[in-house]
Every structure is written in structure tokens, then in C-alpha cells.
């Protein structure tokens, strides 16, 4: 039931690109993406809804492949401020009012 995120951890140099994947074995209604910095609360990045879509703001975007129950988060030209742990959260099509989070992907950006 818990979505699977990959990779578990990524180390990049500033300016490089990263892709974080999230997949579920269940049919999904929505996929959420959050970033959590050390010692802080998770912060909402974006949500993608059933119907398959892409979203983005600034240099962070995401896609949702409804047929495969997969979502990917794309970080382009990464900045130091992108460091943190990224969580995807999935909501099933039965809209059971809860988001189940993956185990997170730790992203570390080096100068």
C-alpha cells in the first residue's frame, strides 16, 4: 500500500538535474509531492490528479502516469536550497481521505 520511491538518496552538484520516482501498486486518485528539510516540517510542493497531468513551478515539475500508477518529480538546474528529503504521498481512487507517504528520497546538493 505504501508507494515506493526511488532512488533512496541522491547526491548532486549545483546545476545538475535529478529525477525522483514514485510508484504504487494501487489505482491512484492523486499524487502529492513534499520536501522536508532537516528539523523542519514537510512543505507541500504540488499535487497531480487522476487524469494524468504535468505540473511545475520554477525549476521543479512533476508528471503522473495514471495507467502505470507512477509519478516522477523533476528538479532541473538544482540549487543548494533544493537539498532535503522528498516525499511522495498517494491517495487511492476510493478517496479514503488519507495520504500514504513513501519512505522519502534524500537529496543532497553540493556547491
Amino acid at each position: 500500500q505504501q508507494p515506493v520511491q526511488s532512488p533512496q538518496a541522491v547526491i548532486l552538484r549545483e546545476g545538475e538535474d535529478a529525477v525522483i520516482n514514485c510508484s504504487s501498486s494501487k489505482a491512484l486518485y492523486s499524487v502529492h509531492w513534499y520536501r522536508q528539510k532537516h528539523g523542519e516540517a514537510p512543505v507541500f510542493l504540488m499535487i497531480l490528479l487522476k487524469g494524468g497531468e504535468q505540473k511545475g513551478h520554477d525549476k521543479i515539475s512533476a508528471s503522473f502516469n495514471e495507467k502505470k500508477q507512477q509519478s516522477s518529480l523533476y528538479l532541473t538546474a538544482s540549487q543548494l536550497s533544493y537539498s532535503g528529503t522528498y516525499f511522495c504521498g498517494t491517495e487511492r481512487v476510493n478517496r479514503d481521505d488519507k495520504i500514504i507517504f513513501g519512505k522519502g528520497t534524500r537529496l543532497h546538493i553540493l556547491p
Binding site: E40, A41, M46, D97, K98, I100, F101
Partner: protein, 114 residues
């Protein structure tokens, strides 16, 4: 103004004690949640309330009891604390209508049971 505020931020207590964590949101959201984040950073839902009504009650020991006096407040009371209860507890809220109902998290309460 803080959107979702939790108190206390840190809580250190002995095994067997009873403690409460308070949460308040000023966003006008209808739904509030409690999540537990363990030492491996796994975020696990515990409870969800919608307009003061309990919606989700995951497999959580009944030592944990949520209370929602109104839709802006969701408190968590824990009886007979155990070592395994040590974790960061996050309160969150969402407006569950509309396409952008992301969760807004509080800053967390780090509970340490000794």
C-alpha cells in the same frame, strides 16, 4: 501568523506518564490530521478529523486519543507513554475541496520518552 501551530515543540517525559499535544490551524481548513514520523523519517498517518468528526483511525494503540473541540483544533492525548512512542508528531490540515488541497503541516512536536 502561523498557519498550523503545535505546542509544545519539544516534550521529554518518563515512561508511564500521560501527555498532550495541541494543534491549531487558522486556515479555515475542514480536515486535520496527526502523523507520526519515526527515526527513519517514515511519515505514518494516525488520525484524521473532518469538521470535528473522526474519519480515519489507523492501527494505533488506544493509549492515543485524539480530540477535536472544533474544526480549527485537534489535540492528541497519550496515556502510559512507552519508549517506542518517541518520535516527531506532526499535525496537518487540508481543505479537501478543489484541485490543490495539499497538506499544511505544523512544525512538529519532538517527543522523547525516557
Amino acid at each position: 501568523d502561523t498557519a498550523v501551530s503545535q505546542t509544545p515543540k519539544y516534550l521529554v517525559t518518563q515512561m508511564g506518564n500521560d501527555k498532550s499535544i495541541k494543534c491549531e490551524q487558522n486556515l479555515g481548513h475542514d480536515t486535520m490530521y496527526w502523523y507520526k514520523q519515526d527515526s527513519k523519517k517514515f511519515l505514518k498517518i494516525m488520525f484524521s478529523y473532518n469538521n470535528k468528526e473522526l474519519i480515519i483511525n489507523e492501527t494505533v494503540p488506544n493509549r492515543f486519543s485524539p480530540k477535536s473541540p472544533d474544526k480549527a483544533h485537534l489535540n492528541l492525548h497519550i496515556n502510559s507513554l512507552e519508549l517506542g512512542d518517541s518520535a516527531v508528531y506532526f499535525c496537518a490540515s487540508s481543505q479537501d475541496m478543489g484541485p490543490n488541497y495539499g497538506y499544511t503541516f505544523g512544525s512538529g512536536t519532538r517527543l522523547t520518552v525516557v
